[in-house]
């Protein structure tokens, strides 16, 4: 056996910012590898939203003929209308995973081990959150693709899409951007909750508990104009409403702008509100994290 006696520790090839980036990259790759090895996490949180998408898309399709609907959401099918809500519902439902991963690292001792290495503490959190954002992004893309495919119709012997993306690729990218911001807000919240409760069940419950009330009291199922008055009031306090509205505008163009608002305002409100909330949850999450890693 070779002897490594009395040898010095290996020299580091990165220092300062280079080290921080390399650590983040290493831990991000770990997160991706975990996702790849347990794809069930990615798919499991997609099952329910997919059923919703396909069922509700059919069940409520005639709603588009209801008075007021086409004024509030011009032209396209209920499937198209509902897809952005399903994207955000998936993100909401899966957000618990971010916190769960940290609790798992805490319980297995993996985190302790990381903390005895000279890595930057925030690289641990950043690597993890970037991994979660990647998962969310792939889920959003999968939903968009499925929606598009389900929306295809046979017209004169050829497949024609019924869903039109008004701004094409830039609109899609913008929508994904808002989705990621929404996801970051929730991932940070989930981390804060997980590190406060240090409990898998509690963290899971909270993400479950939040998802449906937030979806039902937003513009997810119907344009706000068609909601009962009290619900319409509630929906104006629900960040999900703003995020969904912005997604619809970015995907389907001016005809989906909510009454009394403009294109610019819809997007601006969404970005503004999500940014503020993200700053809050990120601050909470990182401060909890700093306390845990001490």
């Amino acid at each position: 056996m070779r002897t490594i006696a009395h040898s010095k520790p290996f020299p580091a090839i990165f220092h300062g910012w280079g080290a921080f980036l390399s650590e983040t990259w290493t831990l991000y790759r770990r997160a991706l590898l975990k996702l790849y090895r347990r794809p069930v996490i990615l798919y499991f949180s997609l099952v329910q939203p997919m059923i919703w998408l396909l069922l509700f898309g059919q069940i409520f399709n005639r709603i588009t003929e209801a008075p007021g609907f086409s004024a509030a959401f011009g032209g396209q099918s209920y499937l198209a209308f509902f897809a952005p809500a399903i994207i955000l519902q998936t993100i909401l439902f899966g957000a618990g995973q971010s916190g769960l991963g940290l609790i798992n690292d805490l319980d297995t001792g993996f985190l302790s081990k990381l903390l005895t290495t000279p890595i930057h503490r925030l690289a641990i959190l950043l690597g993890k959150v970037l991994g979660d954002l990647t998962r969310m992004l792939s889920q959003a893309v999968i939903i968009l693709v499925v929606t598009f495919v389900v929306g295809l119709r046979w017209v004169d012997g050829s497949l024609e899409p019924t869903i039109m993306y008004y701004y094409g690729l830039p609109g899609l990218l913008g929508a994904l951007g808002i989705t990621l911001l929404f996801g970051l807000m929730l991932a940070a919240l989930s981390v804060a909750i997980a590190l406060t409760t240090r409990n898998t069940e509690a963290t899971f419950l909270i993400s479950n508990f939040l998802t449906f009330p937030l979806i039902f009291t937003s513009s997810a199922l119907l344009p706000v104009e068609l909601l009962p008055d009290w619900l319409r009031t509630v929906s104006t306090f629900n960040p999900v409403t703003y995020a969904i509205n912005a997604l619809r505008v970015l995907l389907y163009g001016p005809t989906s702008v909510p009454a009394g608002s403009t294109m610019g305002d819809t997007i601006l409100y969404a970005v503004g509100i999500l940014l503020v909330l993200t700053v809050i949850t990120l601050t909470l999450g990182t401060s909890r994290f700093r306390r845990v890693v001490g």
Partner: protein
């Protein structure tokens, strides 16, 4: 004068809730030593090791690791130490090789060195043939070895082991000892180990400290500590009818402390331990003296001194392995249990 690898002076730790976990302990560990910290749960072992590995701040005293101050030079210390705990810090979703590579990358090791070192450690820990299997499919003993290997990736000078064999079955435990001994002897790695298994401390450590209630009760080589007892151990138990036991124990102490062949006597709740050279030849005398005094001995055992006896002498109690394992499980908390760090 060689700088000690670990230098602890008057170390104190008071938790925010007022618990004084460590109450002024001092010790040194020299290069190449296998140093043990032996004590029951809650004695302050884990608190001490967490301070030494920079995961917990101390309240008072000084701690130097390879001459580096533990409060100010944390990053420099983290670069030279390795760590493995009772919880196995490996990622089950990664292969053995990936776990090792990940750890090495976090120390910013150069690519070729990283690969070399990974192979070297897989070889050393007899994991080479399972290198590309997921750690989640490993047996308890293999996971433990992998965990140990990840702590060695960056070629630390000093390895900290926090109750490394707790929760392992006896066979895996004995197996891990072989690897630990190999690391210390062949790799000349300085090892600091906490444990509550007497046998483990006895087998592995050149020197050990017995710690209880946050204080070091005694410190020395296992051999030295056993010698200090004063000879073989004659454990005596008395008839168990109420307070009679205490009276009889007292009486026995009084009678035997006068005897010239008795080196020392310790009294515990369950009976007394008499220490004497050539224990076998004095047993008849002990029994005769007690019989004359009217003390009823119900049980007598004669053993050569063990660390258990040393431990009993310094802490006043004896712990059995099953009890330890149960405590360990309780400590981990149920599904809703909040774990104290």
């Amino acid at each position: 004068m060689v700088t000690p690898v670990i230098e602890v002076r008057d170390l104190e730790k008071i938790y925010p809730d007022g618990t004084r976990a460590v109450r002024g302990i001092s010790f040194e560990v020299e290069e190449g030593e296998f140093f043990g910290f032996l004590g029951p749960n809650g004695a302050g072992k884990s608190t001490t090791i967490k301070i030494l590995i920079t995961l917990l701040r101390k309240t008072g005293g000084t701690v130097r690791i390879m001459g580096l101050d533990v409060s100010r030079q944390t990053d420099a210390i983290r670069r030279v130490i390795g760590y493995a705990a009772q919880e196995v810090g490996v990622d089950d979703d990664l292969t053995a090789r990936e776990n090792l590579m990940l750890q090495g990358e976090l120390y910013h090791m150069e690519r070729t060195l990283l690969r070399q070192r990974t192979d070297e450690l897989l070889e050393l820990m007899d994991l080479a043939s399972d290198a590309d299997r997921l750690a989640g499919s490993f047996s308890g003993g293999m996971r433990k070895r992998l965990d140990l290997a990840t702590g060695l990736m960056h070629r630390p000078r000093l390895l900290f082991l926090d109750e490394p064999t707790t929760g392992l079955d006896p066979q895996n435990r004995a197996n891990l000892w072989i690897y630990l001994d190999r690391l210390n002897k062949q790799e000349k790695l300085t090892i600091f180990l906490t444990t509550h298994y007497m046998e483990e401390a006895d087998k592995l450590c050149n020197r050990l400290a017995i710690i209880d209630h946050g204080q070091i009760k005694t410190l020395g080589s296992p051999r030295q500590l056993k010698q200090e007892l004063g000879g073989d151990v004659i454990a005596l138990r008395f008839a168990t009818n109420g307070q009679d036991v205490t009276t009889q124990a007292q009486q026995a102490c009084a009678v035997l402390s006068g005897a010239p062949f008795v080196a020392n006597i310790d009294r515990f709740d369950e009976g007394i331990n008499v220490y004497a050279q050539n224990g076998g030849s004095v047993v008849p005398d002990v029994l005769r003296l007690l019989d004359d005094a009217g003390v009823h001995v119900t049980q007598l055992s004669l053993t050569s001194p063990s660390l258990d006896d040393v431990f009993l002498k310094h802490t006043g109690y004896k712990i059995r392995d099953e009890e330890l394992d149960r405590n360990w499980r309780n400590q981990r908390g149920g599904p809703f249990g909040r774990r104290r760090r």
